[in-house]
């Protein structure tokens, strides 16, 4: 511990964090060597004026609670939560109630923002109040076509859809194993497969397996994907977006999942769980945070987003959720094993095979056909 470089508050925070995280304290401690750029006083004043509250809309039980607790303690802002179980729920909620008074929505996907922005639900960010974000965002994340410069949302981490398998039960030496094709077409592990309970991910993976784009809205391509998905169904044990229990219980041997979720199960429960970054490519996207226009405490939301990009806070977040960071320095503090996990640092040239966020998947025909496929699948 480099105690000399720490402020008193920082020391207390560090002790609390190290108490909770035990061995993980090392990297988090090291993260504080990078500077925190605090928000300007105008923002803090505005937070007070708004009443020092923050209404957060997030996935349940995903983010570390101490991150919010520490934020509350440091800034005297009361944090109030609401949870969703699928990001599409967020979209539905705002469609019904465009002025829903959430201050910050966490962990969405860019697809949600694409749909909500044209409806006037996403408010523009004020970068004067986000100095940490300005300083520390990985450059690649600022150049995405749907929101160049990240004016309407910021990613808190990246994600890749992939699949995971239990290496004690599954033979990974067969040729063509590391593909979507294997997940969809193998018959050997029938009844031991779980797929994500999400129409975009299942159709996307099927499209990739056939050599098409994840976000395709071409009817013929989607029909081919549908045939593949329907053919696979009898071999699928369950459609489950959180197959953790089935993986732990040894029921699911092959599971469609996301890189971070798979990492957590590998790291905490099933060391034999390994992940496959499919050779055909996949969807590379980001866990996205935004401030809705109905927010009653936008300054507190900015304060929170800036806090999220404070180096040690970001390191704590990434350690807990297990997704690849969008913060320039956070990767430095992660363990070598985590860095080597599929999806964290992509192999040379892999990105070219992948697709990124594209509106055509979630609007018009692209969405309609996917819904029809999904209804037919679940019949």
């Amino acid at each position: 511990m480099k105690k000399s470089s720490l402020t008193k508050n920082g020391l207390i925070l560090m002790m609390a964090v190290s108490f909770i995280l035990g061995v993980l304290a090392g990297p988090l401690n090291a993260a504080s060597k990078y500077k925190d750029y605090p928000v300007p006083k105008a923002c803090l004043d505005a937070v007070k004026k708004e009443g020092s509250k923050l209404y957060v809309y997030n996935w349940a039980e995903w983010w570390p609670q101490e991150l919010f607790d520490d934020f509350s303690k440091e800034f005297g802002v009361e944090v109030i939560f609401d949870y969703y179980a699928d990001t599409e729920e967020v979209v539905a909620k705002f469609k019904l109630n465009p002025k829903a008074p959430y201050d910050v929505v966490l962990g969405c996907s860019p697809f949600n923002v694409m749909v909500l922005k044209p409806m006037g639900i996403v408010s523009k960010l004020n970068y004067d109040w986000l100095p940490n974000v300005k300083e520390y965002m990985i450059e690649g994340y600022t150049k995405r076509a749907f929101d160049p410069g990240n004016h309407y949302q910021i990613p808190d981490s990246g994600y890749a859809t992939l699949w995971a398998y239990n290496s004690d039960k599954v033979d990974d030496s067969v040729p063509g194993f590391h593909t979507w094709k294997f997940l969809f077409e193998n018959e050997k592990y029938a009844g031991r497969i779980t797929m994500l309970d999400n129409m975009y991910d299942v159709t996307g993976a099927a499209l990739k397996s056939l050599g098409y784009s994840w976000t395709s809205d071409n009817e013929a391509e989607l029909m081919e994907a549908k045939a593949l998905i329907l053919k696979q169904k009898p071999r699928v044990m369950a459609y489950d977006s959180w197959p953790r229990r089935a993986q732990v219980e040894g029921e699911a041997w092959l599971s469609g999942t996301w890189d971070g979720d798979a990492w957590l199960v590998h790291n905490e429960d099933v060391p034999a769980l390994k992940a496959v970054l499919p050779e055909e490519g996949t969807l590379i996207s980001a866990n996205t945070d935004f401030i809705p226009t109905g927010a009653k405490h936008p300054a507190a939301a900015h304060l929170f987003l800036n806090y999220l990009y404070r180096p040690e806070v970001n390191a704590l977040l990434i350690e807990t959720i297990g997704y690849p960071p969008a913060h320039k320095h956070t990767m430095e503090f992660m363990s070598d094993e985590m860095k080597a996990w599929p999806g964290f640092i992509l192999p040379e040239g892999y990105m070219e095979k992948c697709d990124s966020d594209d509106e055509r998947m979630v609007t018009g025909r692209g969405k309609e056909i996917r819904l029809q496929i999904w209804e037919e699948l679940k019949r």
């Binding site: 349940a60 939560f81 008074p101 959180w242």
Partner: protein
Amino acid sequence: MKRKKIAPKILAGLSFLVYFFLWAPVIVIIIFSFSANRYGVSWDGFTMKWYADLVQNAAVKDALIRSTIIALVTVVVSTLIGTLTAYGLFKLHFKGKHFLRTSTLLPIVMPEVVTGAALLVFFTRFLNLPLGYPSIIIAHIVFSTPLAVFVILGRMQRIDWAWEEAAMDLGANRFRTFTRVIGPQLMPAIMAAAVLIFPWSFDDFVITYFVAGIGSTTLPIYVYSQMRFGATPIINTIGTLFVAVTIGALFLSRAIEKKNAGR
């Protein structure tokens, strides 16, 4: 004559199997709440750790308080409206009574998904009511009041109405008579309705899921979100708590009923 003896035994055996079926999951919940297994899905030795976790878990505590408040308000309001309605349906004659009585059944027979969805659209697109406590409580009252109406209506037939006439002959108006004379006699029925409504409201997931908003995560919604992430043994401890509270409430209502009967 022999057949007469066998039939009850077969019935008893069948009934026992049904009871076993109904209680097996509950027993599993209770036993595994003491299991050291970190997913609460098998027996890995005895521990009280999950109960210690439960006590310290602020999210559970908040959810528990919220669910209790919602259920209490629902019970009070719906039994109040239910008593008035039952009395009116029983005593008064007016146009449209049959229609009203039948309509009262509607919330009971409507699937919860439909009620939840309809109220969600209604609250957000028509009333512009922010989702949260008010929307959840209104939704629960909508469902619970008919239950109260019919439970209380059922018991009204057994009341000694001579008292009412006596009181009214002595010059008390009907409302006064109702609150002073009939009300106390209805207490057991009101308690029965309360005992029925409280756990329903406390445990409701589907309707609440639709109309819940910021800062109104109830216990069932919390449990649901936990389950999606593969669940923790805390779920079993919450389940055991439910069993304890339910049995406690039942004993309490029995005790009250006995005390009332004794008077």
